[in-house]
């Protein structure tokens, strides 16, 4: 068996840099004989809405209201990802939240991905996952943010964004414009070593760990032998 090869259909797309450009091609390519057919979750549709740009109500509504903002729509594993521009993110989220047909009233998750090793610029992807209790549908919005750029804060739309954006700022150093209380969330308040989930942050930090009380010329307790 050729384990060092990617499974069938998962070849790197021609453009190379963009993560999701070839995502549509990926199909589960496994022989399922001998295994009972199961009504699997991600085979049944309806969880992320119809898998078509013309049929999905959120895509249609956003395309109608913001013709220039939606850059790309990606379907992967029955999930719907909208890659949007950052400028009108708040307005788009307000539309998704307040439209009675869509009613994406719950902000499930807000996080970021450091795209340093995926592409040259922009640096980060901010990923917003929404859920509509009424329609039982999820939706993911992705927007690219550069290092010096500030992402619009969604705290005015959902209160849940408060801590999630603080965590993003803490872990990635992304600033959120309009956030009422942007400070460290998980790390110590006097943490001066940057933002650990960035790809250029070493696994064991910039400084060697020194046992407290042995700062004077003491050797670091753990040698940095791991990669990264």
């Amino acid at each position: 068996m050729a384990d060092d090869q990617a499974p069938a259909g998962a070849e790197t797309p021609e453009s190379g840099l963009d993560l999701l450009a070839g995502a549509r091609l990926v199909e589960p390519a496994h022989d399922m004989t001998g295994i009972a057919k199961i009504n699997s979750v991600w085979v049944t549709s309806g969880y992320w809405g119809p898998l078509s740009e013309e049929m999905h109500p959120a895509i249609v509504a956003l395309r109608a209201a913001f013709p220039d903002e939606v850059e790309q729509v990606v379907f992967f594993r029955d999930e719907v990802t909208l890659i949007v521009k950052a400028q009108k993110l708040i307005e788009m989220c307000l539309l998704l939240r307040d439209d009675p047909e869509l009613s994406y009233r719950m902000l499930t998750d807000l996080t970021a991905v450091d795209m340093l090793r995926m592409r040259s610029a922009p640096r980060f992807d901010v990923v917003v996952t929404l859920y509509s209790v009424k329609n039982r549908q999820r939706l993911r919005l992705k927007t690219a943010i550069d290092e010096q750029q500030a992402c619009p804060s969604l705290t005015a739309v959902w209160s849940a964004a408060n801590w999630l954006e603080r965590e993003c700022y803490d872990m990635f150093g992304i600033t959120f414009a309009g956030h009422p209380d942007l400070r460290r969330m998980l790390l110590a308040e006097d943490w001066d070593e940057g933002h650990p989930l960035r790809k250029d942050y070493p696994m064991r930090g910039y400084k060697p760990y020194v046992e407290p009380g042995f700062e004077e010329g003491a050797a670091p307790r753990i040698k940095d032998f791991r990669r990264l």
Binding site: D4, A6, P7, Y47, R105, V127, T129, S159
Partner: protein
């Protein structure tokens, strides 16, 4: 490397408002038994009334997401035990299902039944810890003894099944490599026989207890709109009357075959969330019962025919192909397809989501763990505003936090 901007984290003792009015600022925690771990809450008090509460978390931050980026997919499962150590099998399940969704694997039917069985046992165990400690915080000191006695039986079941009690690491990508033993089934059957009476005991102790009612009814009310706005999930959301249980709304595994009900609260207070969780334990028992009845007695428990799962032991010894597959799987893991997936399961505390961005290598490019209690804890300042200082322990307890899961 950008330096951290410091907010106003320095705690002053008092704040003078003039006219003889003063606000007192005190630290609750990080070493406080009723914060369920290491959490600090900076409380601003006007007399005994809480004016503002600012939770300070991160004392247990271990960088699990960063670690996940350097570990192969199958190596990360033990870390999921340690994010929420009270419900380790549920955490395993959430991560495993995400990897399976990314790779397009479906576990065999029997493995799915065993997963649901263990997940529901874990849900009961987690709720028992919550009930015991929550009641202990409020003042019902004996509850913790009763609930931990019952939880002990569940830990024995885990031990019999996988060898570990707390950090179980029992789920594997593709199914299980060990089947459910007959002794485990007997233990579960015995538990199902005795547990309804135990739950009835808990409710007899608490339900009509005037002290319990005085401490919980009308305290920490969350309106449905607020609950949605704060992104609450689990019993915190259902206690406010919003019907969102992922097992029903987006059924995974074989939950669509199970007959169970989702309890909803009406008032959205601490008492309602208590009722919701107790009823969830009863419903979990129903699911366990149905699993035992419906589970196929025979059949595969590990998805084979795939590059993504470890080959079964007997074919590794017999065939050259599987020996090679096994070698490569152990030495370098598997390359997951490029893409990104988000998979959420109904954890005992709410929606546990894992978000994986894969770049086609054998480690995740980004692994995000959306823990339910991190998001749920945000509502604490809202609930605490205007409450009494003594209620703060009830409010912390009702969210059901585990600091390992909050801080990751």
């Amino acid at each position: 490397m950008t330096p951290a901007t410091l907010g106003s984290w320095a705690v002053e003792d008092e704040q003078d408002l003039g006219d003889g009015q003063r606000l007192m600022i005190i630290n609750m925690g990080p070493q406080h038994p009723s914060t369920h771990g290491v959490m600090r809450i900076v409380l601003t008090l006007d007399g005994e009334t809480i004016v503002h509460a600012d939770p300070v978390i991160g004392y247990l931050h271990r960088g699990v997401e960063k670690i996940g980026e350097t570990r192969r997919y199958s190596q990360f499962t033990p870390w999921t035990d340690r994010t929420d150590y009270v419900a380790a099998p549920l955490n395993n399940l959430g991560y495993i299902l995400t990897v399976e969704k990314l790779c397009g694997i479906v576990a065999p039917e029997r493995a799915q039944y065993i997963r649901v069985l263990m997940a529901e046992c874990s849900r009961i165990a987690s709720h028992l810890v919550w009930l015991g400690t929550h009641a202990l915080d409020i003042g019902a000191l004996s509850m913790v003894l009763y609930t931990f006695t019952e939880r002990e039986k569940l830990l024995d079941i885990f031990e019999d099944f996988c060898g570990a009690r707390l950090t179980t690491n029992m789920m594997e990508i593709g199914g299980f490599s060990r089947s459910l033993k007959q002794t485990t089934i007997v233990q579960i059957e015995n538990f199902l026989k005795t547990f309804p009476a135990a739950i009835q005991d808990f409710m007899d102790l608490l339900d009509d207890n005037p002290i319990w009612i005085a401490r919980t009814r009308g305290v920490g009310v969350i309106e449905p709109d607020v609950a949605l706005d704060y992104g609450l999930t689990g019993a915190c959301l259902r206690g406010s009357g919003i019907n969102y249980d992922i097992r029903k709304a987006q059924p995974y595994l074989i939950y669509d075959r199970m007959d169970f009900e989702v309890p909803l609260g009406t008032q959205g207070d601490v008492y309602d969330r208590y009722l919701v969780r107790v009823e969830e334990m009863r419903q979990a028992m129903r699911i366990i019962r149905q699993c035992l009845d419906q589970m196929p007695t025979d059949g595969p428990i590990m998805s084979n025919d795939s590059n993504y799962v470890i080959p079964p032991h007997d074919t590794v010894l017999r065939t050259a192909e599987d020996m090679q597959r096994h070698f490569v799987w152990v030495i370098k893991g598997f390359n997951a397809p490029k893409g990104e997936v988000y998979m959420a399961i109904e954890h005992s505390k709410g929606e546990l989501g894992h978000y994986i961005v894969s770049d086609g290598t054998n480690t995740p490019y980004r692994l995000r763990i959306r823990t339910p209690d991190f998001v749920n804890l945000q509502v604490l300042p809202y609930m605490a505003e205007g409450a009494m200082l003594a209620d703060s322990v009830a409010l912390i307890g009702t969210i059901d936090i585990v600091l390992g899961s909050v801080d990751r």
